[in-house]
């Protein structure tokens, strides 16, 4: 079968697996792992085909847009799919190992895996859907599954955080949907590419842009709409925190990129571009600053996500001009990949600490490198990438962004990135310094399954090694955002 046919399997395989895992709870874990592996294989196949023949389109039900729905995969989408497949598979093994070795810890496995598979199905659907209404449905599945996974262990603080997350998610979706309705009334189409052709700047287009941007910014947790993220991401079970921070928030981000650089390019053009960058900068500074003052490891990591999402929004002003677009996009996506892997690694390692000693308070981490060496080194490597030290992907991505910003003479973004780097170094050293340098404070850690440790480590290693793959990323994403717009 050819790649364009296989495309539909990327969301459908996890969806069918979710149904199967629900119908046959006894096999849910096995179904989940095999289907995740199968999806990853298909994604690799599609990536290979994209390199050979270019973008792929699947007209669902045989009707093309505008009447039907097109699934579409370009380089940007396939890079995201690869990240979802890779990180998702490794984190799934971590979760499976956690269930297998340490029991359910209040998390009902028969509920966990269907929700997990729904989450991944929707996430994949978000990256391949070419239709703004299909995106709405995918975002709803994604949001409901994510909220349920946060709440699933039933811890009081997680339930409160999940409820707030749910309201943010639903409100964001409805803002987005109102934007879709206005767009349809204005243009009569729902397909992203056709929208880009047919839209004319005017009140309806501006209203749709504001509504959809607002809705998706809530989902992508862009400052100042990030308030729900730290409690939700820090109170969820570790594998859930890992995929929420590493992957789920990026869904909203990528769709925002597609809208801003696609249908809404003429509307966003001008001062709005710099304002988006300013929000990103505020997120970098505020998130990093907050991370400095948290006493729990998982909260530090969650605030770090707020900051790292800020860097991604710096892509917009730097990539707006066609000259630096591919360079800035490649840098930004490399940074995104480094964050996806490093953050997943960090959350898994934090989960291992929780498994070992039952809490993740900063003072409990003393001597971690002796009593939980693999996880400690996983955190160390992930920290290298989060701060952006060479040769990690975090460094390469930031470097590419900085070079592009200098080329555009937008030195203020460079300043933001440098300050963010210093702050990141500070919060990482504050939390990890004792782990490597201080004597042990709690000498009675419980056992942690080896697979849980090594999954964290492999993700951390990937975040460093991916720096070498930056040219590959550039090859994929080159030309993914339309280049006929912007100043």
């Amino acid at each position: 079968m050819t790649g364009d046919r296989l495309l539909v399997l990327v969301p459908i395989v996890p969806l069918l697996a979710a149904v199967a895992a629900f119908a046959v709870p006894r096999w849910s874990r096995r179904i989940a792992l095999w289907s995740m592996a199968l999806t990853a294989t298909i994604v690799v196949w599609i990536a290979d085909e994209i390199l050979r023949v270019g973008d792929l389109t699947h007209p669902l039900a045989g009707w093309s847009a505008p009447l039907g729905i097109d699934l579409r995969v370009d380089g940007l989408a396939v890079v995201m799919l690869l990240a979802v497949a890779g990180v998702g598979l490794i984190v799934s093994f971590n979760a499976a190992s956690s269930f297998h070795e340490t029991g359910s810890r209040g998390v009902p496995e028969r509920v966990y895996w269907p929700l997990w598979l729904f989450l991944f199905s929707a996430l994949n659907a978000i990256f391949v859907a070419g239709d703004v209404f299909t995106l709405y449905v995918a975002f709803e599945i994604n949001g409901l599954a994510a909220v349920s996974l946060v709440a699933i262990a039933g811890k009081p603080e997680a339930l409160g955080a999940a409820l707030r997350y749910l309201f943010v998610s639903l409100t964001g979706s409805l803002l987005y949907l109102m934007g879709v309705a206005v767009l349809y009334a204005d243009t009569g189409v729902l397909d992203l590419m056709l929208l880009a052709d047919r839209i004319t700047p005017g009140p309806p287009a501006i209203a749709a842009c504001v509504l959809m941007t607002g809705g998706l910014m809530m989902k992508a947790a862009l400052f100042p709409l990030h308030f729900w993220l730290p409690p939700a991401h820090s109170s969820a079970p570790a594998p859930v925190s890992a995929v929420l921070s590493a992957l789920v928030v990026k869904g909203g981000f990528v769709i925002l990129l597609r809208l801003w650089f696609g249908p809404f390019a003429e509307i966003v053009d001008g001062p709005a571009v710099q304002w988006i960058g300013a929000l990103g900068a505020a997120a970098v500074l505020w998130g990093s600053f907050q991370a400095l003052f948290q006493d729990r490891l998982k909260l530090v990591v969650a605030y770090s996500t707020v900051a790292q999402l800020g860097y991604l929004f710096l892509i917009v002003p730097i990539a707006w001009s066609a000259e630096t677009r591919s360079a800035a996009l490649a840098g930004g996506i490399t940074l995104l990949l480094s964050h996806a892997t490093a953050k997943a690694a960090f959350f898994l390692a934090a989960g291992n600490v929780l498994t070992a000693i039952g809490n993740d308070r900063a003072e409990s981490l003393c001597g971690l490198s002796r009593w939980l060496p693999v996880s400690a080194f996983a955190m160390g490597l992930a920290a290298v990438s989060l701060v952006g030290l060479p040769p990690s992907a975090g460094f390469v991505g930031k470097w590419m962004l900085i070079v592009a910003a200098m080329e555009q003479r937008q030195w203020w973004w460079v300043a933001v990135m440098l300050i963010g780097t210093v702050l990141a170094a500070a919060y990482v050293v504050r939390i990890l310094g004792p782990a490597f340098l201080m004597p042990e404070s709690d000498p009675q850690p419980g056992p942690v399954p080896r697979l849980m440790e090594w999954t964290a480590f492999s993700l951390a290693a990937a975040s460093v090694v991916l720096g070498l793959a930056a040219s590959g990323v550039a090859r994929f994403v080159n030309g993914s955002l339309p280049s006929g717009v912007g100043p």
């Binding site: 209404f133 449905v137 709803e140 409901l144 909220v147 349920s148 709440a151 039933g154 009081p156 603080e157 339930l159 409160g160 999940a162 409820l163 749910l166 309201f167 639903l170 409100t171 409805l174 803002l175 949907l177 109102m178 309705a181 349809y184 009334a185 729902l190």
Partner: protein, 101 residues
Amino acid sequence: MNPAPATLFLLVGAAIFAIGLAGVFRDAGALRRIIAVNVMGSGVFLFLVAVADRSGGRPDPVPHAMVLTGIVVAVCATAVALTLADAVRGRGDQDPDGGGR
């Protein structure tokens, strides 16, 4: 045919969407917020039905299908939200329906 009712209901849809939006952002309890989200949704659906009616003669089936999908999504979200609010209440950690009664 006659765009007047369509425009009227487009505006009414926008208005109750906005009322719902205010309800979500007001600091109220969970039940009120859940109702507010549903009012927001109803606003979007009314808007879409009015959009379909604008095409004159026969209504546009695509927004109709979107509304049907949206209604089902909304009821699912409501069920999940109520269950979650129930759980929060059950733990007694946080009161999901403050706000007067």
